[in-house]
Assembly symmetry: C2
Homo-oligomer: 548 residues x 2
C-alpha cells in the first residue's frame, strides 16, 4: 500500500540528513504547476463549506459548534460536530493497536500519502487558511500549503528515522565455554499513547502538521483541537487523513477533530490520563500551564519570544532596510518569527552610504516600510488582515509604549471592505524600558532601541533571549569579528541566527528540511521543528527475546 | 587527541544499530585478560582509600563528609569533601563553553577514553562496589565493571549518533527566477545545561554511567550525587573522568562529585535553576517527586516495578526451576530486574516431567533455590550481602504477607563474619491480595500466585505492569500461541519479555548493546538504557545562516 511514496520518503530522509535545499511540494500556485482550473476548483470547494455543517463521520454528540469569523469580514458560518471527549478517547484507543502493529514503514508511507492528498487540496486549504488566519492569499497558499506540507513530511522522516535507527530483530550469540549462548530478539516500536495537537489562530496548518504527523507516524492516534478561530483548515486536513487511513484499511479515528467555540476543551483533553502527548503553539501563559499541568503527557510547546535584530554596520544599506521592512510587514508581523526588538547603537552605524545616525536608521526603516506598503492594493497582498481583535488592540496601544517612529495606517482592502488591515507601527523605546521590550507584542509592532554599542546590543540579545526566549535573531555587520561574536551570543542564548539578509531571504522564514524552526534551547520552544528531540519520546521500543 | 578510540566508537555505533552481541570490555576477571596481579593491585588500591579522606581537587568547603558502611561489615571510614553547591554549579557553568565548542567528536573520543581508563581500574572499582552495594565480588566486578562500562559506551554511542545524524553545515541553493538564492548554514550542537546524576545503593556504577556519559558526551557538565551508602565507586569514577578531561585540556569540573551523609542534597541540586538534566535511579516516591518538582530539568527516572513471571508450560522443567532459582538468588534479589510476582495457574502446568500441580511447582522452585544455595560458602558468592537494613526488614516481614513456601535463611559469610546474608523467601499470595503484590518488595522476596489460568495470568501481568510498571517480564510456555499472546500482553504493558529461559541467560540480566534495560513505556522508567529517547533532549541544535 502506498509503495509509490517510498521515493518521497527516501528523499526526505536524505534531506533531513544533509539539510540543504529540498522541497517535495511546489510552492508556486501557478496553473503550470497545479493544473489549469485548480485555483478555481479550490475556491469553489472552500465556498461549498460555508454556511453549513462540515461533513464528517467522526464520533460526536451531533450538536453543531463553531464560530469562526473571517478576518476579511466574509461570512463563514461553518459548523462542526461538538466532540464527545469520552467517545473521542475511546475511539482513539480502539484505533491504536492495528496502527501500532502495522509498523514504521506502513505508517510512514500512509502518512506521506495523507500529505500528498493534502497537497492536492492546497487551493481549498489556502482559502480556508486565508479566511481564518487573515493571511493574504499567496502566503496562505504557500505557508498554509506546500511549506506546511514540507514540514509535515520532515516530521514523518524524523519519526521514521528515529524508529528505524536500530534493527527490528537480532541474533545475539555470545561466546561461552562449550556452546555459545544464542538468543533471538525482537524489537518493536510502541507508541506512547494518544497525541493531542492544539492549533493556533495564525498558522493553523504550518504549526500543527509537525506534531500531528510526528505523533501519527510513531504510532499514536491524534486528536486535533484547532484554535476556535481557525478550524476549517484543520477540519479539511483531518478529513483527508481519515479518508486515506480508511482507504489503507486503518481506523479513521486515528485522526479526529475536536472543535470548540470558546475555551476549556484543550484543557479537558490535555490533562486526560489517556492523552500522552501534547503539541501546542500559542501563548506563553497557556504553554507554561500545559507544561506544569499536563503531567501525564510529553508536552511540546512553542510560545512567545523576543525576536531580535542587531544592527552594527552594513555594506548594503538599502538592501538591509528593504529586507527589514519586508519582515516587519509580511502578514502584519503576525508571525512567531517576525522581528520585534531592533537594537541599534545610539551613535549610529557605518554603511555603504556613509555613517547613519540612530535617527536616520530608524527613519530609514520607517521609510522602507512606507515605500513597500505605499500602494494599498499591493500592500494588502503583503500584510493580509489582522487575525483577531487582540492584535488590533495592541496596534492601537503601541504608540503609548514610546516615541512613534512610524504610525500604523488603516488600509481599506479593495476586495474585502470589512477586512481589518493595519500597517506596522514602529516605536522608539529607551533601553531602560525593559518592561516594554521584554514582553512579546504580537502583531505589526516593533521597537527601535538605541543601545550604547554593538557589544551592548549583543549582550542585551543574550540576556533577553535567554530569559524570555526567541524563535529568530538577526545581525547586520561588515565585521567578521562582530558576526563571530553575534554567532556566539546566539549560541549561548540558543537562538537561530540570520546574518546580513539583504535579498530575498527573510529572518521570519524558515525552510523545511534545512532551517530549524526554533531550537528548544531557549524559553520560546521545547524543541525544533523538526529534529530528533521533537520525535523522540513519542514512541518506545519493547523487546522480546528467547533462546534460539 | 584520543584518536585511537575512534575504532571503539565506530564499533559501538555499529553495535547500537545492529543490537546483536558486542562488548568492548571483557567481563572475565581472569589474569589472562586483565593481567597478572591486576586483582591484587586493585584490592590494594581499594584498601588505600580506607580510613582517610578521598583524594580530590574539586571545589568544596573542605569539610569531611561520608558515612558508608560495608554490607560485609568491614570498616570503610572514607571521607569526601563536603560540596559547596554554589561553587559546584559555578564551576560546572564555567567548564561548559569550551566543552561545547569542542564538538561531538572530541567529546565522544574523550568520553571513550574515560571509560577505557575506568576499565583499567575495574578491580579497584569492583572492591568498592562490593563493599558498598553488598554484591559478591565476581558480580561486583562484572556488573560494576565491564557491564557498566559497556552501558557507558552505549550511551556515548547513542549520544554521538543523535548529535551527528544531520550535517554540521549545508549550502542551501534554492532555484529562483534569475540567480538562485544561496545560503551558507552552520548547525551547532548546544548542551541543555548542567546534568545531575543521582546514584543508587545497589548498582552505583551500572545505573549511573548511562546518565553520566549521555549528558557528558552531549556537552553537559555533570554533577554526580552518589547514594550515601555507595559513594566510593562513583568517587573513583569521577576522579578518573577528571584526570582524563584535564589531560585532554578540558576543565576537570565537567565531572564533579557531590557527597552527602544524609538526605537533602539531591533535592537541593535537582531543583536548582541551573540544573537542566536529572538522571535518577531509586524509589518510586522520590522519582515521582523529582518528575513533579524538578520542572526546569529534563528528568529521567528508573523506579520500582513489579517484575512478573508467567508459567504456562515447559518442556524443560528442571531448567526452568533452576533458571528461576538463580534469578531469585542472584544478589539476593536486589536487582531492579529480579522477578517478584510468579503467576502460576492454580490447576498446575504441563511439563516434560508430567503435569505439575501449583503446589508442586511452588515447591519445585523452593527446592531449586535450596539446592542452589545449599553450600554456604558457594551461596554467598551468588547472594552477596543485603545492601541495607531496609532490605533486611522487608525479608523479616515477608512471612506475614501470605503462606511461606520457602523460608529465608541467614548464612554466615565465611570471609566476612559481620556480613548480613539472607537467602530468598518465597511466599504464596492469593490473587485477591493485590494490596501485597502490586507493591515492589525490593530484596530476596518473591510471591507465587495461583491464578485461574494462563489467560488470567497474562491479563494480570498486563494490568499490574501498566499500572505499576516493571523492568522485566518472563513467560514459560511450549505453546506458540501462548508465547504470541504473552508477547502481545508485554507489548501492551510496555515491558521487555524473556521467553523460556532455561539455560545460562537470566531474566534479570540485560546485555548492553543488545538488550534494552527498561522501555519507558510503563511507569517503571521514563526511557530505556540506552535508546534515542534517552539521549534526545540533552542537547539542541542552533543554526546560523548567511548569504553565500
Amino acid at each position: 500500500m502506498f509503495e509509490q511514496n517510498r521515493e518521497t520518503l527516501d528523499q526526505a530522509l536524505s534531506a533531513i540528513s544533509e539539510r540543504g535545499y529540498w522541497s517535495a511540494y511546489p510552492e508556486s500556485p501557478s496553473p503550470r504547476v497545479y493544473g489549469e482550473g485548480a485555483a478555481e476548483r479550490g475556491k469553489e470547494a472552500f465556498e461549498s463549506y460555508l454556511g453549513r455543517p462540515f461533513p464528517t463521520d467522526q464520533p460526536s454528540t451531533g450538536d453543531p459548534v463553531g464560530a469562526e469569523r473571517s478576518p476579511y469580514g466574509i461570512e463563514l458560518g461553518v459548523t462542526y460536530p461538538r466532540p464527545d471527549v469520552a467517545a473521542l478517547i475511546a475511539a482513539a484507543k480502539a484505533a491504536l493497536p492495528a496502527w501500532r502493529d502495522a509498523g514504521p514503514e506502513a505508517r510512514a508511507l500512509t502518512c506521506v500519502e495523507i500529505v500528498n492528498r493534502v497537497n492536492k487540496r492546497s487551493f481549498e486549504i489556502a482559502n480556508a487558511v486565508q479566511h481564518t488566519s487573515g493571511q493574504a492569499f499567496v502566503m496562505a497558499f504557500q505557508a498554509g500549503g506546500p511549506h506546511a506540507q514540507d514540514r509535515a513530511l520532515e516530521a514523518i522522516a524524523y519519526g521514521y528515522a528515529a524508529m528505524t535507527a536500530s534493527g527490528t530483530a537480532a541474533r545475539w550469540e555470545k561466546p561461552a565455554k562449550g556452546d555459545p549462548l544464542v538468543m533471538e530478539k525482537k524489537f518493536t516500536v510502541v507508541p506512547r499513547g494518544i497525541g493531542l495537537v492544539i492549533g493556533c489562530n495564525t498558522f493553523p496548518t504550518w504549526n500543527s502538521y509537525p506534531g500531528l504527523f510526528a505523533s501519527l507516524v510513531t504510532g499514536n492516534p491524534v486528536i486535533v483541537k484547532p484554535h476556535p478561530r481557525a478550524i476549517l483548515p484543520l477540519a479539511i486536513s483531518v478529513q483527508i487523513a481519515r479518508e486515506v487511513l480508511a482507504e489503507a484499511g486503518f481506523d479513521p479515528n486515528l485522526a479526529q477533530l475536536a472543535v470548540e467555540e470558546g475555551v476549556g476543551l484543550a484543557t479537558e483533553l490535555a490533562v486526560h490520563p489517556d492523552v500522552r502527548i501534547v503539541d501546542f503553539t500559542g501563548s506563553t501563559t497557556y504553554g507554561d500551564w500545559l507544561e506544569a499541568n499536563a503531567r501525564q503527557a510529553l508536552v511540546h510547546t512553542e510560545k512567545a519570544g523576543l525576536n531580535t535584530v542587531v544592527l552594527d554596520s552594513t555594506d548594503a544599506y538599502k538592501g538591509m532596510l528593504g529586507n527589514l521592512a519586508f519582515s516587519l510587514s509580511l502578514y502584519s508581523g503576525q508571525m512567531c518569527t517576525a522581528p520585534q526588538n531592533i537594537l541599534i547603537p545610539a551613535g549610529g552605524i557605518d554603511t555603504d552610504e556613509g555613517h547613519k545616525s540612530f535617527d536616520e536608521v530608524a527613519a530609514g526603516i520607517a521609510a522602507a516600510v512606507g515605500k513597500l506598503l505605499g500602494d494599498d492594493a499591493r500592500a494588502v497582498e503583503l500584510t493580509g488582515a489582522l487575525a483577531n481583535p487582540d492584535v488590533l488592540a495592541r496596534v492601537d496601544g503601541a504608540p503609548a509604549l514610546g516615541e512613534v517612529v512610524l504610525e500604523s495606517r488603516a488600509i481599506k482592502h479593495p476586495a474585502f471592505p470589512e477586512a481589518t488591515v493595519r500597517t506596522p507601527v514602529i516605536v522608539r523605546v529607551d533601553p531602560a524600558r525593559s518592561d516594554v521590550y521584554t514582553s512579546e507584542h504580537f502583531g505589526p509592532i516593533s521597537f527601535v532601541i538605541p543601545v550604547e554599542s554593538t557589544e551592548a546590543a549583543l549582550n542585551l540579545l543574550g540576556e533577553t533571549v535567554s530569559a524570555h526566549g526567541a524563535l529568530t535573531a538577526a545581525v547586520y555587520s561588515t565585521s567578521p569579528d562582530v558576526l563571530d561574536r553575534a554567532e556566539k551570543a546566539a549560541l549561548e542564548a540558543g537562538v537561530n541566527l540570520s546574518c546580513n539578509l539583504t535579498g530575498g531571504i527573510f529572518v521570519n522564514q524558515s525552510a523545511a528540511f534545512s532551517d530549524f524552526h526554533g531550537s528548544g534551547a531557549n524559553p520560546a520552544a521545547t524543541a525544533s521543528l523538526t529534529d530528533p528531540g521533537y520525535v523522540a519520546g513519542r514512541f518506545h521500543i519493547v523487546q522480546s527475546r528467547r533462546p534460539a
